[in-house]
């Protein structure tokens, strides 16, 4: 090859590189369509009954709806009350065990799967009750005894006994979503990526590890959304999400962890944080059956040794979280602010000495997940406990291992997060009922990590109580008892937070807790609007 040929080749390569660099996709297409670009992690499925993962629960809300929905009251979305959605109305028998739902007429499933009928409702709940492969929420529907189709638009659900939480169970969230029977039967195992719901958006396509595309459902019964298309990008790294938000690649981002640095960056670029309650409560359960914590004075000492305010201020400065005021988070039916233990290291030392540990104590092999908020909180707790003589030797493990270990009772105190259906009955039933005490010997993998048996009677009474105010009173008493017995230390209530480019997208709800939602996302994504 002679020299001039080398030069020519070089120039061609350079030209290709330059044109590659300056080439951008035509903006005309994007301008014509109203496309909402979201950066979050990739959902693991689009079958709403099959996943507990945050991003999946967030995206399925765009595709599916339930018989009821969380009510909008005074311009705010609440999680305490419900209103009709796919069910137009309902009646309930005097004893509260027979619920008859009249379905909205003419609701169409996506992709021409026909009109939604009572058969679809029956199928949606029964597939979970029968533990169909991959389904996860049978427990949330366990009060149901029988489902009967009275006519194509009327379905009757008979309960085993009165269930005060039943209307919440029917809300469009997890077990409450209605899927197309025909589609699930047709696609079988492949339904996960061939979802068919009745929501404001329908599934268009998925490029694995890149994006999911949803399109506006023009047949949506509350009216077609203003947004034509949703592009849900798989972006695992928060740093990339932030760069994308600044650059305009994304309009909304769903951060993994919101830190003070991130807030500063978001504010600097002119974006806003949409905070939704109730979010997740970060709290510590103390196993009251394991020495040395079987002595209430040690548990009290533990609680007085922890500076909750410092943890909140360090990890969630400003309005990024609120200091927890109860072992039941706000936004849950029955919540009551109760007295929390004061930070008092001297008192903690004194209590430890009284309990026979004047020189402190050591906890070896304390396992903590290396994911999410766990290691950050654990390190702060470790430092604070050290000041009163409680030395904790922390071992970082993967998230799955952490969950396995805490169910084997390997940790004398357990840090935990997460949300549940927003009623004290559900929360207490899972975290404080004696039937949920984890026990490797019996295979019980429950989540009563405190091994507490002190409010079983109140939970049982609450389930029988028809009067809501009396039911609330029972749960208030439960919260007082939990704190009295020093088995749970609530730390922070952390909202679900997304960052939004307000010049591109608007929401009708106040960014500061204008919405309460369990979906880790906007409760009503159809109300989001792209601004011109």
């Amino acid at each position: 090859m002679d020299r001039s040929l080398w030069w020519r080749c070089g120039i061609v390569i350079l030209a290709v590189c330059m044109s590659m660099a300056v080439w951008q996709p035509s903006p005309a297409h994007a301008a014509r369509k109203k496309i909402l670009k979201i950066a979050a992690k990739e959902p693991d499925t689009l079958d709403p009954h099959s996943s507990t993962i945050g991003q999946t629960q967030a995206i399925v809300r765009f595709l599916y709806r339930g018989l009821t929905r969380f009510a909008i009251k005074d311009g705010k979305v609440t999680t305490a009350e419900v209103e009709p959605d796919l069910a137009e109305s309902w009646t309930v028998s005097d004893d509260g065990t027979v619920w008859t739902f009249k379905l909205r007429k003419g609701v169409q499933f996506h992709h021409n799967f026909g009109e939604m009928t009572a058969e679809d409702v029956k199928f949606s709940f029964e597939r979970q009750l029968h533990h169909a492969k991959g389904t996860r929420f049978a427990e949330n529907l366990s009060p149901i005894r029988e489902i009967t189709v009275l006519d194509p638009l009327t379905v009757q659900i008979t309960l085993k006994e009165f269930d005060p939480v039943f209307p919440l169970r029917m809300v469009g969230y997890q077990q409450g979503y209605i899927v197309s029977k025909k589609a699930v039967e047709q696609y079988g195992d492949n339904y996960a990526w061939n979802p068919v719901g009745t929501g404001p958006f329908y599934f268009d396509r998925h490029t694995p590890r890149e994006k999911v595309i949803l399109k506006a459902n023009s047949q949506y019964y509350f009216g077609r959304p203003q947004i034509d298309e949703i592009e849900w990008f798989d972006v695992p790294e928060d740093a990339t999400k932030l760069i994308g938000l600044e650059k305009g690649t994304f309009d909304l981002i769903y951060p993994e962890i919101v830190t003070a640095d991130m807030v500063a960056q978001v504010e600097k670029m002119g974006a806003v944080l949409d905070k939704r309650g109730p979010g997740g409560q970060e709290r510590i359960y103390i196993n009251m059956t394991q020495p040395p914590f079987d002595d209430i004075r040690v548990r009290q000492a533990f609680m007085h040794a922890i500076d909750r305010q410092a943890i909140k201020d360090t990890l969630y400065p400003g309005a990024l979280a609120t200091l927890a005021d109860s072992p039941l988070p706000p936004g849950y039916f029955g919540h009551l602010a109760v007295e929390m233990p004061e930070y008092d290291p001297d008192l903690a030392k004194k209590l430890l000495a009284q309990a026979g540990h004047p020189d402190g104590l050591t906890i070896d092999n304390y396992f903590i997940s290396k994911s999410f908020f766990y290691p950050k909180v654990a390190v702060l707790v470790q430092e604070q406990l050290k000041k009163v003589g409680i030395n904790v030797n922390v071992q970082l493990v993967e998230h799955a291992t952490y969950h396995e270990n805490i169910r084997k009772n390997l940790n004398p105190f357990v840090l935990y997060g997460g949300t549940r259906l927003t009623d004290a009955d559900v929360w207490f039933g899972l975290f404080f009922d004696s039937s949920q005490i984890p026990d490797p010997a019996t295979g019980n993998k429950g989540t009563n990590f405190a091994h507490y048996k002190g409010i079983d009677d109140l939970i049982a009474q609450g389930r029988r109580e028809h009067d809501q105010s009396k039911r609330a009173a029972l749960y208030h008493e439960a919260q007082r008892r939990i704190m009295r017995d020093a088995v749970c230390l609530p730390l922070t209530d952390v909202p679900s937070i997304w960052a939004r480019n307000p010049k591109r997208v608007s929401t009708p709800f106040n960014p500061d807790y204008g919405e309460f939602a369990l979906h880790y996302s906007y409760n009503y994504p159809e109300m989001l609007k792209i601004l011109d």
């Binding site: 290709v16 590659m20 660099a21 951008q24 950066a39 990739e42 693991d44 499925t45 099959s50 996943s51 507990t52 993962i53 533990h131 492969k133 991959g134 389904t135 996860r136 929420f137 049978a138 427990e139 195992d189 996960a192 990526w193 490029t207 694995p208 590890r209 890149e210 990008f233 798989d234 695992p236 790294e237 990339t240 760069i243 994308g244 600044e246 650059k247 690649t249 997740g280 493990v397 993967e398 998230h399 799955a400 291992t401 952490y402 969950h403 396995e404 169910r407 935990y416 997060g417 997460g418 949300t419 549940r420 899972l430 949920q436 984890p438 295979g443 019980n444 993998k445 429950g446 989540t447």
Partner: protein
């Protein structure tokens, strides 16, 4: 001569077939090792899938549905039997059939590895050779060596973010995320539409290259350092050989000496490095795919292991093994092309 070549070809073929046979027990060993290693790891897939929302009943349901409550040996037997029928099951992480999913991810990783290899050789080989040939010119030698050192010192995730900030955020020249329209490229090649719609095909290729440029540069540059250092030291060694001195004594031009006599000999150790390098690049794709938010096998494998997604992790590691075995086989075959002294028995 013709006869000699035919004998050589036959031996080469026998060698390749023999190597392929050796691959079978190797794959079986890898699959078994991965199976048991994954099951020995603490933390089961149901815990990983359900996370903070895991209730006792949901965990029991999940364990039963996935067949994880069966004895380990029964699970192993089932796995081998299903694999024999090319049924690798469904991914627990994303509910796709494992084979379909891996086949979708594979092209992204292959083009990244290929492109970064080209970048690594394109940068590493000339700088290494230049540095060796011009070793008495400190300006060139030191510049080339500093470039190599930079490549060695800069981790791919750091260099990648730097490239993103400069070329994507500030100058807006390259896309921030994604792997480009590779699926269209693969589909058009597969269906033959490439000849029907060449314009669309070129646009898709262009899109892929546009998305590939920064990741390939990030990964390739960090690996170019190794190539450059090996090329430099080998070239220095070769340049001191007797036959080079003889060539110089014959009065050959320096260019001819370097390109015709020295380069071919430099290629032999370099080929070994490139063979290893593909394995390195495959692992490097994990970080590159993460930083550039590209689809691909590397990040997928790490996620699968973290999520204890047994079927997907087992499938992906099998594919990784096959790629590395194939590349090493190609490298072994190429030795003969560069070095006539190599014979296959």
């Amino acid at each position: 001569m013709q006869q000699w070549r035919a004998v050589g070809d036959e031996r080469l073929l026998q060698y390749v077939v023999r190597r392929l046979f050796v691959t079978i027990p190797m794959l079986l060993g890898t699959m078994s090792l991965v199976f048991f290693a994954m099951h020995v790891l603490p933390g089961d897939p149901c815990m990983a899938m359900l996370g903070d929302q895991a209730t006792g009943q949901a965990l029991n349901d999940c364990t039963h549905q996935l067949g994880l409550d069966r004895p380990l040996l029964v699970q192993y037997g089932d796995y081998l039997w299903q694999s024999l029928h090319f049924n690798f099951g469904y991914s627990l992480l994303n509910r796709y059939p494992v084979t379909t999913y891996i086949l979708q991810m594979l092209p992204y990783t292959l083009v990244l590895v290929l492109a970064s290899t080209v970048v690594a050789i394109g940068i590493g080989l000339p700088t290494g050779m230049l540095s060796a040939v011009q070793r008495r010119n400190p300006l060139i030698d030191y510049t080339a060596r500093v470039i190599a050192l930079l490549g060695l010192s800069m981790p791919v995730f750091w260099f990648g973010i730097l490239l993103l900030i400069v070329f994507s955020l500030h100058w807006d020249l390259f896309p921030l995320i994604g792997g480009g329209d590779l699926s269209t490229v693969v589909e058009m090649i597969g269906s033959g539409e490439v000849f029907v719609y060449p314009g669309d095909f070129l646009a898709a290729v262009f899109d892929v290259l546009h998305h590939l440029a920064l990741p390939a540069l990030a990964l390739g540059f960090t690996l170019a350092a190794t190539v450059s250092r090996v090329a430099r030291s080998t070239m220095l060694e070769v340049l001191n050989q007797d036959y080079i001195r003889t060539a110089r004594a014959k009065g050959l031009r320096e260019r001819a000496i370097v390109y015709k006599h020295a380069l071919r000999n430099v290629m032999i150790p370099l080929l070994t490095i490139i063979g290893l390098f593909v394995a390195l690049a495959m692992t490097g794709t994990v970080l590159t795919e993460t930083v550039f938010t590209r689809p691909g096998l590397g990040k997928m494998l790490v996620d699968a292991i973290e999520a204890r997604d047994y079927p997907l992790a087992q499938g992906a590691i099998t594919v990784f093994t096959m790629i590395i075995v194939t590349v090493n086989l190609i490298v072994d075959v190429l030795y003969a092309a560069f070095d006539p002294r190599v014979a296959y028995k």
